[in-house]
Symmetry: C2
Subunit: 155 residues, 2 copies
């Protein structure tokens, strides 16, 4: 999995707290990561429709919908794409004892197992929203930290 997924998720949690657009440079500085590379992740999220960008002065990124309506899977698929990790190359149809194509209407047993596992993985990621992440984080951080973050974003 791409390492940018972690950054993107952190950005979403931060954006859900800000009510004003946050520029990419500020998001990078807050998390202490490469600004030019984070820009790429934000671009991917913009294309996926998770965030909306406004250019010009006082511009930046805003979530397009409520944090409770954005799942972790949405972010993962925006960054890493929607294609499953396993791709069946139909090995059974190759070689000297190849299975004839008309016998291969159903996916082979290996593909079925991989698809099933991929579905379980995605279901697990779909069950958690950005709002859930924020709620969990609020339970752990020190009191006043949220206010400090909001103030830092506004500065």
């Amino acid at each position: 999995m791409s390492g940018g997924v972690e950054w993107a998720l952190h950005c979403c949690t931060l954006l859900s707290r800000a009510s004003q657009p946050v520029p990419a440079v500020k998001l990078a500085e807050y998390h202490d990561v490469s600004p030019s590379y984070l820009a790429k992740q934000l671009q991917l999220m913009s294309r996926a429709g998770l965030v909306r960008s406004t250019q010009g002065n006082a511009g930046g990124y805003v979530l397009t919908r409520d944090a409770a309506a954005i799942t972790v899977l949405d972010v993962v698929e925006a960054i890493d794409g929607v294609l499953p990790a396993f791709r069946c190359t139909e090995v059974r149809q190759r070689g000297p004892l190849a299975t004839p194509a008309e016998q291969c209407a159903d996916p082979c047993a290996i593909a079925k197992v991989m698809d099933s596992a991929d579905r379980a993985w995605r279901d697990s990621l779909r069950a958690v929203t950005i709002a859930d992440l924020v709620a969990d984080a609020d339970r752990q951080i020190l009191p006043g930290a949220v206010e400090r973050a909001r103030a830092w974003l506004a500065s």
Copy 2:
């Protein structure tokens, strides 16, 4: 996921049918894949203890235990390794408003979600054995195909 996983799984199903050692070249020819690259996958499975190799004349690879005792996860981990796809870099401990380290004893919310999804994925793969794959394949192939495969392996 590495493409070699598919080859490795196909090799396991074929090895479970053969009662004699099968050399890597024969496995590659049967599946019509690169012999030199397949050798690498077999090497990884050998290191993981899934197959045992015998050198010299009439040598080759044999499964070390019954097909019902080898799960799909065993093969996937032998080829792709046991490390989870997501690795938390503790972003929360970086930046101007970094969370102090003593507050970070528990993994962050993002890491928890990813670990949970990874566990669901692995559980799904662990639930299926090579024997299950063979049984599923037997249901789909034409009658007599198994005997032809055994004969080809012996030739």
